[in-house]
Each structure stands twice: as C-alpha cells, then as structure tokens.
C-alpha cells in the first residue's frame, strides 16, 4: 500500500446516506456470496442495460463506480502503478481502466491486499460503449486477461443534432434481444419477461425520483451541497432497477424537502455563488475541492455527470429502451447537443458561473469543454474557468491551480453581481 487511509469525518450521516452505504455493502456482499457458491458474477460498464442481469437475478458490480470509491479513499495508486509498471500499459489511457485492470490482475495473481470495497473477480462482463470508446478497449483487455466472455451493446455515437435514425435504434434493440438469448444460455436460466417489465418499472420510478430531487436544488439557496449528488448518484449506477433505491431516494427527497421547509442546507457555509460543475469529480481530491468551494461561498449546485443515468423509456417498450441507452450518456452526443442541455440547465439552476474539470482521463468530456465554451459564453453570458485534474490519477491535479482558477471565477462572478 502506498498511501495512508484518509481521515473520515466524524459527523453522523443523514439516514439517506446511511441507507446508501448499507445498499452498497449488500450489493458487494451478494456478489461475494455468489463467488462462495461458484455462481456467475458480472462486471459491468456504468450505463449497460442493467435491466437484463437484474431480471436474471445475477449479481453485477460496476468497475467505474468501484474505481471512484477506491480513488476517493486514496487507495488507487498501487493498482495504477501495477498497470503502468508490471503490465506495461501507457500512462495516457483512462485512469479508471488503469486502476481496475491493475486490481483485476493483482487479484488474479494473488497480490491483492484486500482494499475496500473489494470486488470478487467476475465470470462475465457487460459492456455498453455509450459513455466512451475506451470502455470497449478496457473490457477487451479484461476479457483477455480473465478469459471470460463479454455481453456487448454497441450504442452508437449521435454525431448529428437530430433524433437518431430508426435504423440505428433497430441495431441497438437487436443487440439487447440477442444478449438476452446469449445470457439465457450462459446463465442456464429462462428470461422472465414479467420480471423484466417489473424491473423496467422500478428503474423508471427511480430515475424520476432522482430527477425530482435534483430539480429541488434549483431553490435559492440550494437545499443540497451539489457535491452530495455525487454520493447519491451511485444508487442509480449500481442499483437502478432495485426497490432499495426507491426507498433511499424517497428518504432523500423527504430530507431535502425538510431542508427547504426549515431554510437549511447540507451546504456548510453561505451560498454566495452558484456554479455548474462540468465533468466527473476529481475523486482523490474531493475533500479539497469541497473545502475550497465552501471557503469562497461557492455551491456547485448542479453538474452534468449525475444526470447520465436518466435512462427514460416506457416500461414494456423495448424500442424506447434501446433508444434510451443509445442516448443516455451525455458522451453519446455531439457538443452542441450537450451544451444546449447545459445552457438550459444553468439557466434553470440560476448558475453564476461554470467550473470545468479538464479530466486527463476523459478525452471526450474535455473536448466538449473546449468546443462548448463559446456556446455557453454566448448563450448564458456567465464566466467559465477550466482546471486540470483527473478522476483517479493523483498526479494531474494541482491544489494551487484549482484555488487560483476558482478565485478568478469568483472575482468575475462578484463583479457581475455588482461587486457584492
């Protein structure tokens, strides 16, 4: 181990957060229990049609979510070092991939030291490339190293601003159907279409609830510190089709409404400025980012990342579901389409500025920041600043640069508010 475990805050967590933690523990526990019994365990990309494995009742874990957790706990470097060193992968590839491929290889070779949350090695992989193309390469490498199959849904990038053509949707639907057939053989289980419909229904309830909660943060001052959304987002990543998520989100909604009624907020400080955070969190630097934002009275009330799991369709409509997975991740759209969403969202959330994480691991999100800046400046007339960082690799982020850029943003936002 190369780093000391970070000090955890002593404050008691709200009930909704306690439930999130319990849910995560349960998901990992069920995967480990399956391992004990020699049953199937999946690793899945974050926006794969989770409805399939949920219907089959097969445990699935999510390496992107796991990498984020491990990075936030400052345990990621040992795996990244293994991937770059012993496994000889170049430093330029995604740090989630470097972390996860290193961890998988160390587990396979008995070198894993039990860092939490630990995932059991999978027996199959679920891959959807709606978030990026690197996921495909990452999973190809896992598949080869672990000699396990991939269930793949190729989601197609939407390069035009218009609605995707019907023939594209037909291909995505075809893959979902063919994956169901292939999974039936692999799991040696019949697919229960009634249960599938139920999972679809629960998934829709959950995404709607999450959207309602996010929308409550349009209140001024916001009832939530925007960074809290990163924590609750995990329910949609790892348990989008589970009723336990419904319970958590109902509880969270209740807590947020109480904050609104009491005029309180989870944002510790005075909300002087409201900004949109663009990009994935710098998980290893989450604490510093949060403290620094608070220091300047800045609440990142909204970010584009947390809405990536808003996979909207009518239960029972497989075409609609196929289209939703093709269009869910913001990374499956061109920059003008995404910036159109951002621009509207920033108006709705009354953002005074935009803080953009040029994430060394995520080329596509970084491209959007570079090309989209002009669009936002022209439409929203708010200041935008970039800072360099990474979702897991601790070598990219600079505390001084972050604070310096934030100071610059605050100065302009202050001036725009008439110097107040």
């Amino acid at each position: 181990m190369t780093e000391q475990k970070a000090e955890k805050p002593k404050r008691e967590l709200p009930l909704s957060r306690q439930l999130v933690n319990k849910q995560t523990e349960d998901v990992y526990a069920s995967a480990w229990a399956a391992k004990e019994k020699g049953e199937s365990i999946g690793w899945s990309t974050a926006i794969f049609p989770q409805e399939l494995c949920e219907t089959f009742d097969v445990p699935v874990l999510y390496p992107e979510n796991n990498a984020a957790s491990i990075s936030a706990r400052h345990f990621g470097n040992q795996f990244i070092e293994h991937t770059e060193g012993e496994m000889k992968y170049p430093i330029n590839i995604c740090s989630y991939a470097r972390l996860n491929m290193g961890m998988a290889d160390m587990m396979k070779n008995g070198k894993f030291e039990g860092v939490e949350p630990a995932m059991p090695l999978p027996t199959f992989l679920c891959l959807a490339n709606n978030s990026c193309t690197q996921l495909m390469k990452w999973y190809e490498n896992l598949s080869e190293n672990l000699s396990i199959p991939i269930f793949f849904v190729d989601c197609l990038f939407n390069y035009n601003e218009e609605e995707p053509d019907a023939y594209k949707n037909k291909y995505v639907r075809s893959q979902i159907e063919n994956n169901i057939a292939a999974m039936e053989k692999f799991f040696n289980k019949k697919f229960d279409w009634n249960r599938f419909l139920e999972v679809q229904r629960i998934s829709q309830v959950n995404r709607k609830l999450f959207n309602e909660i996010v929308a409550l943060n349009t209140r001024m001052p916001a009832p939530l510190d925007g960074f809290d959304l990163f924590n609750y987002m995990s329910c949609l990543v790892i348990c989008r089709g589970k009723e336990s998520t419904t319970e958590i989100l109902k509880q969270l909604k209740k807590e947020v409404e109480e904050h609104i009624a009491n005029g309180t907020s989870t944002f510790r400080g005075t909300e002087e400025y409201r900004v949109h955070w663009e990009g994935i969190a710098c998980w290893p630097n989450l604490g510093f980012n949060l403290k620094t934002l608070r220091k300047y009275g800045v609440n990142a009330v909204m970010n584009g990342y947390v809405t990536a799991w808003d996979v909207a369709y009518e239960p029972g409509d497989l075409n609609g579901m196929a289209k939703a997975y093709q269009c869910s991740s913001t990374n499956s759209f061109s920059t003008p389409s995404i910036m159109d969403m951002r621009s509207k969202s920033m108006k709705k959330f009354a953002c005074d500025g935009m803080l953009c994480h040029v994430n060394r691991s995520c080329k596509l999100m970084s491209f959007h920041i570079f090309t989209g800046r002009d669009i936002i400046e022209a439409r929203n007339k708010i200041p935008i600043v970039n800072f360099d960082g990474d979702q897991s690799d601790t070598r990219v982020f600079s505390e001084a640069q972050f604070e310096n850029r934030l100071q610059g943003l605050v100065e302009v936002m202050k001036e725009n508010k008439g110097g107040k």
């Binding site: 496994m87 000889k88 992968y89 170049p90 330029n92 590839i93 995604c94 991939a97 490339n129 990026c132 193309t133 690197q134 495909m136 390469k137 990452w138 190809e140 490498n141 598949s143 080869e144 991939i150 793949f152 849904v153 190729d154 197609l156 990038f157 390069y159 035009n160 053509d165 023939y167 594209k168 037909k170 291909y171 639907r173 075809s174 893959q175 063919n178 990374n331 061109s334 920059t335 003008p336 040029v358 060394r360 080329k363 596509l364 970084s366 491209f367 959007h368 920041i369 570079f370 090309t371 989209g372 002009d374």
Partner: protein, 373 residues
Amino acid sequence: MSLTDILEQFAYIANNPNAILKKYIEEGKDVIGCFPIYTPKPIIDAAGAVPMGLWGGRITPTFAGKYSPVFTCSIMRSCLELGMTGRYDGLKAVIMPILCDTFRGMSSSWRAGVTDIPLIALVHPQNRTDLGAQDFLAQEYLSVKLRLEKILNREITDESLHESIKKYNYQNALVMKFSKLALNHLDVIKPLVRHYILKSAQFISVDEHIRLMENLIEELEKLPEHVWSGKRAYFIGITAEPDELLQLFDKYNIAIVGDNLAQESRQFRTDYEICETPFWSLSSQWMHIEGCSTVHDENADMLEKFIIKEAKECAADSVVDCLMRFCDVEEYDYPDIAKCCEEEGLYCLCLEIDQSSEDNGQTLTKIQSYSEL
C-alpha cells in the same frame, strides 16, 4: 517509365498532398477529405470525386488548441489546425468515421473550427457478430451517399458504385502483390520507399494509383531477386513517420518486410464482397476486418495472433510498434502485443510517434540497440 521515375512519382505524391489537392481543384475535380481509417472511398469515387486522405502534417498546432485538449493525438490536432488555417480549402466535404473518443470530440471541433468544409460523419458497428450490425452499416453507408449527393449536387448510381468497388478490390490485390514482391527486392524497396508507395494511395485517385502500381510491379518483376542479409522488421501502429525515422532503419540495415499500419496495409487488406446491392458489398468489408485496434473482435486475442502470424509469414525477426502518442485504441493493445512477441521469440520495439515532436534521440538509441542484437 523507369523504376526510378515511378519511385520518384510515389515520393512526390506522398510528400506533396497540398500541391495535388490544388492541381485537382484547378482541373475542376471535386475532392473529398477522408479522415483515417475506414472511409467508404468507393462512394466518393462513384460520385466522380477524388477521395483524399487527411493525415495531418509535421506542424506544431496553435489554433487547434481552442477546440481540442493538449492530450489529443497529433494527427487529429494537426488536421484541425490545417483545416482552421485554410490548408484544406477547396475540399467539398470531409468524411469522418467515428472510430474512437478523439473522433467523437473532433466531429464537433471540426464543425466549430472549420465552418466552410462540411463534415459527413459516420459510425461503424462494433458488435459485428450481432445479426443487425451489417444491416445497420449498409444503411449508414447509404446515408453517407445521400449526404454526399446533396453536397455534390449529383446522383451516385448503383452501377457506378459496383464499378468503384471492383476498382478498390483490384487496388487491394495490386498492393498485396507488391508487398510480397517487395520481399525479393529489399535492396530497392527500402523503408522510406515502401512507405511512399503505400502512403501515396491516400492522395491520388484510385485509377491513378492503380496505373502507378501496375507500372511498379512490371518493373520490379524485371529485376533479379535480391537476398537480404540484414534485419527484418514488421511494422504496426497508425503511421510510421516522420521520414527521418524510416531513414534510421535504412541506415542500420533494417528492412520493412510487412506492416499492419493504419496508413498503409490496413487500408488494402480487406476486400469488398461482390453482392447484389452495392451497400451490402460496401458494408461487408468492415465485417471481415481482422487485426485492427479500432475494430472490436469477439476473440480478445485476435490482434496479437494476427500480428504474429503476419510477422512470421514474412520472416520478420522483430515487430516495431509505432505507437501514436495519445492514441487510446493502440495504447490499450500494446502490452498484449509486446507479451505475445516475447513469447513467440520476436523482438518488440516500441517507438512513440508524435507529429509535433522533433526529438528522435530516444528512437535512435532504441533502433541502434535493436540493430546490434
């Protein structure tokens, strides 16, 4: 035409794409820019236009930084720079296959930065074993045809598409024949010469390249066989550039005996099947591509096996990976390729390629070390 004249022509074409673009425009021809790697060139040819490869250039981009992060691969950054600074002026459109994340981003960057050259983007299906994949691609190519017809204001007929498909298959056959023939003439077909011959296909019409290749093969067949006593390298990667890199191999008596470079043999290895409809023919090529970092294959170790098989078939003693900096798809493949080469007794040399970098000191050391083995 003498062999020397033919080789000089290839060298001129490979080194002067901008002059060739201007010549075509002066002649009143329509030219369509083709981003790497797999653009449906027969559609362009069938429209009576010239497909011209866009592979960037040896420049240090400045304007491109407005629309692309610094960790973008140098080919795409320099393409954007050349587009933004007017070097591609005169192209009627560019076609961009969205094969990686950089292309996803670049499609918007191009539209923002190069507003007067329309972009025709397309996506290839990566889940090739799915029954819906080829249907999708045939439709996608049809969509490219429709968009191109609108820009060029002319119809592209099925007959002309069938004709163009045949021409491209014939070009493939000629290039593959040349690659084998070159193994008997490694004293003449030196690394840089070979590179120019294959690269030149990017910048001229398929008819012109076919004529040159026919002449080249005819002249090579007249030469006595040469027994090569130096080292034999099989090249992989996106491009093997700049010229100085290949000159170093020549200097140290290392021949290139085959390649899986995106700019070179990968362009010519897979034919279009002859089918009833042209779009089914066009889409068939993608379904059969093997050994390419940008194409998903259900067999996870397909790429390494392909490279080892090819390298051994041309009796290579090494695999030289020209690893394009910031090219994710290639970077993910490198460790398994290196491991496989080691297991198969092939020396694996990894050279970092960056169009905007002048320093090749490290490369020189690596090539020297290999030559001394």
